[in-house]
């Protein structure tokens, strides 16, 4: 057997380890252990000179095992593995010992910590005697990408990828792409017309040779692994022949049946046969089977759209017999850009939403103000009159332990924007902002706040206690009264207004949980999708190949959403450019001779990586899907499974090192 030559490196990590562990002593001790040829301590092992030490020693001393005792492997295992590889040593002959998170950072007792560090290093030294070189395998990387969600995040990501002449599938569950951004009138702080800046991108998506747009569709199942995902998509039946529909809208005109328009946030109606808004992409009609009387009566009633459709896109056949289509695609990467929802303000009954008709949400106001909206852009109360005064209430359900503890980030700014809408159209209308803090953090945002002060908006610092119609004076009669403490004055204030706009909290989509499990991503406690690292890796997820962009990861404005979408696209283009994925080799393998085919392992595998071969009567592990967790190896009654790098010998050796 080959002589084992181990190099041990004990890192100071500045003072992170050295303050509470006697690193020199640990290094000295390591040098006395069997198989250790050299043992060093150094101030920052992960730095260039630190890495250089390892490289030099491997060559000079012909080391065939390297141990670094420093921080968590989650941080630098890959770094050091690469160092070993660059010096010609197989990366699986490297072992990392965590004497920081699990030792030096746990308490201040230097003596105890040093003893522990010595034990841990001893364990590693014994272990590496049993380590074997493992072959690193590669798999090809599928250059197609799946983007889930057709709001600004999904649209931006799709265009970035498609413009590099790689294919992107854009799946959107609504009949048209555009998300929430297409519902807005203007965007802060520039006051660009939202539809004007978005529709060109939507149009580009709709006609891009490298984008396959699957609107009115949802992803049903995802399997596979980074570089090689298989996705099953359900394309819902529009009951309209998409290829023939010209988007002329006659069906919509003639359809006699209505329901609440999702696009108009319930402020207007749409027809059973409808195009959600004039600039929809794709510009084709959809027939809602829940409302369409022809469909519900199985062809006996109505049928107006069939009569009037000149393109022959709506027929009895499409209405009665068109079914959902299942589409299976293969992609290498996935971006989740599923956006956000808004909290129902009825959960805070004190604000009167649902009770008083002129208490509305910010999004509803955005539709009122939009030229294409239910009032043609006229700011008016439900009875058609112009409001003489408006209160905009911040933090409705945000920054509130009773609902959502987090800040929804966009409301302070859109509250200012909406105040501007009012002041522009109705200069004599009083606008009151009821806020706790003014969060105008972005580029041009503070200047926008100043602008609104100049426009004469009143700012009252106080979280609104309630909105009531119970007047206690003549001025309050027939008004909605906003009750709060003006904290800067230290006095109670009652502001009589005609309209109250609530900045209700941004929330994850209602089905975020289901989507998360479908794509094997996690949710944070808030319900938004979990990124790999909040500071250094905000668009990747712990699941390789699956990325997040936009509000589905956390509330954010359009600039940040677009930046994240481009970032996710860039990460994917980097993988596509590399063209191959390296598979982790420390996975489990089944010895088919020992396997009895009991399938216990198959039922336990959390990654669905094990399959049963009927012919051979044994189980097999897909090395690409296997994460090396070892559950199968532990459960196998025949000891037929080897968890590479975690064999019984290796683990027993570690235990000996710690206990002896």
């Amino acid at each position: 057997m080959e002589e084992i030559k181990i190099g041990v490196y004990v890192c100071h990590c500045g003072v992170n380890i050295a303050a509470t562990v006697d690193v020199e002593e640990v290094a000295r001790y390591a040098g006395t252990l069997s198989g250790v040829v050299l043992s060093r301590d150094y101030v920052f092992m992960c730095s260039d000179p630190g890495q250089g030490l390892i490289r030099k020693d491997i060559k000079e001393y012909d080391l065939n095992r390297v141990i670094v005792a420093s921080c968590s492997p989650r941080l630098h295992e890959l770094t050091f593995r690469r160092v070993c590889e660059s010096a010609g040593l197989n990366r699986y002959l490297f072992e990392m010992v965590n004497i920081r998170e699990q030792c030096s950072w746990t308490n201040e007792d230097k003596e105890a910590n040093t003893e522990k560090a010595k034990a841990l290093v001893d364990a590693a030294v014994r272990r590496v005697h049993y380590q074997e070189a493992l072959e690193v395998k590669e798999a090809p990387y599928n250059t197609d990408t799946l983007i889930v969600g057709g709001g600004i995040a999904g649209i931006q990501a799709a265009l970035e990828i498609a413009n590099s002449e790689h294919k992107a599938y854009l799946v959107e569950r609504e009949p048209s792409i555009g998300g929430h951004m297409i519902q807005l009138d203007k965007t802060f702080p520039t006051l660009d017309c939202s539809q004007c800046i978005l529709t060109p991108k939507m149009s580009e998506v709709g006609s891009h040779p490298y984008i396959e747009l699957l609107a009115y569709s949802e992803v049903e199942e995802v399997s596979g692994y980074v570089g090689n995902f298989k996705v099953r998509i359900r394309k819902k039946a529009r009951h309209v022949d998409e290829n023939k529909c010209t988007g002329c809208g006659v069906c919509m005109q003639k359809c006699p049946y209505t329901t609440d328009s999702e696009f108009e946030v319930g402020l207007a109606k749409r027809k059973a046969a409808y195009i959600p808004f004039p600039q929809a992409v794709p510009n084709v009609a959809t027939v809602d089977p829940d409302i369409c009387i022809y469909i519900k009566s199985e062809g006996k009633k109505c049928g107006a759209c069939i009569k009037f459709c000149e393109a022959g896109a709506i027929t009895a056949e499409t209405l009665l017999h068109q079914t959902d289509e299942i589409i299976e695609v293969e992609v290498g990467s996935i971006i989740l850009a599923t956006g956000f929802s808004l909290m129902d303000p009825k959960l805070i009954p004190q604000y009167g939403y649902g009770e008083y008709e002129n208490v509305i949400t910010g999004l509803e106001f955005e539709r009122i103000v939009s030229p294409t909206g239910p009032t043609g852009g006229k700011i008016q109360l439900k009875d058609g009159h112009e409001p003489e005064s408006v209160a905009i209430v911040h933090c409705v359900g945000s920054r509130d332990k009773n609902y959502h503890e987090y800040c929804s980030r966009i409301c302070c700014m859109y509250a200012l924007k909406q105040a501007h809408y009012i002041k522009e159209e109705l200069p004599n209308t009083d606008v009151y902002q009821l806020y706790i803090d003014m969060r105008s953090f972005g580029d041009g945002y503070e200047e926008f706040y100043e602008r609104l002060c100049e426009e004469g908006v009143n700012f009252v610092r106080g979280k609104v206690a309630k909105v009531t119609d119970q007047a206690i004076s003549d001025e309050e009669k027939e008004k909605l009264i906003v009750v709060a403490e003006d904290t800067l004055l230290g006095r109670m204030i009652r502001i009589p207004v005609d309209m109250v706009i609530l900045c209700n909290a941004v929330e994850p989509q209602a089905d975020a949980g289901g989507v998360a499990s479908r794509f094997t991503v996690n949710q944070k406690a808030t319900g938004f999708f979990l990124e790999r690292h909040p500071k250094l890796d905000p668009v990747a997820t712990p699941t390789e190949g699956v990325f997040v962009a936009g509000c589905c990861q956390s509330p954010k404005d359009i600039p940040d959403t677009v930046a994240q979408a481009s970032a996710a696209a860039a990460r994917i283009l980097a993988m596509i450019s590399k063209g191959r994925i390296i598979l982790e080799a420390a996975v489990s393998v089944i010895d088919e001779e020992k396997c009895s085919g009991c399938k216990i392992c198959l039922s336990l595998c959390p990654f669905s990586a094990i399959s049963y071969d009927e012919e051979k009567g044994v189980c097999q592990i897909n090395e690409a899907l296997c994460k090396g967790c070892g559950v199968c190896a532990g459960a196998c009654p025949s000891a037929a499974i080897t968890a590479r790098q975690f064999t019984n010998e290796e683990i027993v050796a570690q235990v000996e090192g710690v206990l002896v």
Partner: protein, 385 residues
């Protein structure tokens, strides 16, 4: 006004007395906005939090004693600040450390509680006199239920009808219950909120030892204040009993078919949620179920009911303090009740009973509206055997 300098020592005193929650306050002002005091005068709850944060608390101010601990602010506070605990900590600093002066009325009640175990200053031996002619036994080991009426129904000549009605109901149903006897002391809930922590600890120990030594497993109470402290504060001091409010007990008896109510009570009854039953302990439905089981009774709701119910003004020790006319919450409640067309205000708390009774009297409305405890109404409606 001279320039303020933060005075950390004062903040530390408050923190040590139980005021840690004040650190979380981000000064949004919702507490002030929702506090019932601001219906009748100015009481800036938020400023009290901030003054405490900087050690600028005016320990000699009246406002130290204003809070009725109704819980409206705590319920809505977006940071989850236990504002009542902060108020209590400031009061504790005054009452226990002598940093300021305790209002006379409160001081006297505290002296009475510490001295003779009840705020009215009555003789302990007379605690069970309300039951003299009613055949009520003393709790012994094996008795199923301890009935703990609260000092007010025990001693107050008007409110003792609550205890008597309850005993009457129990006797008619043959419930196996008893009184703990004259060694009982005040439950201590309100005196603790008033800052007299040591007094509370001593009262609690007395009661816990008494109950435990007699083998008490289940306590039925008439006062939501007793309910609150027995249920939420006594366990960590070693007192673990099942605690039931009389309205919950009656509701379950009705549900089991054991309590039959067949005498018609043709009244328009408006129910006032007590703060310590409703907001503090989530009991809203059982009292209503009891009232709705009474034939002929029309149950009306206040415009702000359940979680939004307006306090009667009796909590936090203020039941023992004087509130000037024009600042009494119970006056507002009586006006609301009259506006709703009620002829009876149904209460489930002895403090509410006292306050509404006083308001009806001083507003001159005794001819048009009366105040009745739920136990009284039930006793009236009980089927004759």
């Amino acid at each position: 006004m001279e320039v303020l300098s933060p005075y950390k020592e004062a903040t530390d005193v408050i923190l040590e007395a139980g005021g840690e929650p004040l650190k979380l306050c981000y000064q949004c002002g919702l507490c002030t906005g929702i506090c019932p005091w601001n219906l009748v005068r100015s009481f800036v709850v938020r400023r009290i939090m901030h003054e405490a944060q900087l050690g600028a608390t005016d320990f000699g101010s009246e406002d130290v004693w204003t809070c009725v601990t109704c819980g409206a602010c705590v319920q809505r506070c977006p940071r989850g600040v236990e504002i009542i605990d902060v108020m209590r900590a400031i009061r504790r600093a005054v009452a226990s450390l002598g940093i300021g002066v305790v209002p006379d009325a409160l001081r006297i009640s505290a002296k009475n509680i510490a001295g003779v175990g009840n705020p009215l200053g009555e003789a302990p031996e007379k605690r069970d006199d309300w039951a003299k002619d009613l055949k009520v036994k003393i709790f012994a080991s094996g008795t199923e239920i301890l009935y703990f009426p609260c000092c007010v129904p025990s001693y107050d000549p008007d409110v003792k009808t609550v205890a008597r009605s309850t005993a009457t109901i129990f006797n008619k149903l043959g419930i196996d219950y008893g009184l703990i006897g004259t060694e009982a002391k005040c439950c201590g809930e309100s005196i603790r909120k008033a800052g007299y922590e040591d007094t509370f600890q001593s009262l609690a120990q007395n009661n816990i030892n008494l109950f435990t030594s007699k083998g008490v497993k289940t306590v039925v109470v008439s006062s939501p204040h007793c309910y609150h402290t027995f249920k939420n504060e006594y366990p960590e001091l070693g007192g673990k009993f099942e605690v039931i409010h009389i309205t919950q007990y009656l509701a379950s008896l009705i549900e089991q078919g054991k309590l039959k109510l067949s005498k018609k009570i043709n009244k328009k009854v408006i129910y006032s949620d007590p703060c310590y039953l409703g907001r503090h302990n989530g009991v809203y439905d059982e009292p209503r179920r009891v009232l709705q089981s009474i034939p002929g009774l029309e149950l009306i709701e206040f415009p702000d009911a359940r979680e939004d119910a307006l306090c009667c003004g009796g909590g936090g020790g203020r039941i023992w303090m004087d509130t000037p006319k024009g600042e009494r919450f119970s006056d507002i409640r009586v006006e609301q009740a009259l506006e709703k067309g009620a002829d009876t205000i149904a209460v489930a708390c002895p403090y509410c009973f006292l306050n509404y009774r006083d308001s009806v009297l001083t507003l001159g409305k005794s001819e048009v509206i009366e105040v009745k405890d739920i136990s009284e109404i039930v006793a009236e409606a009980m089927t004759e055997e």
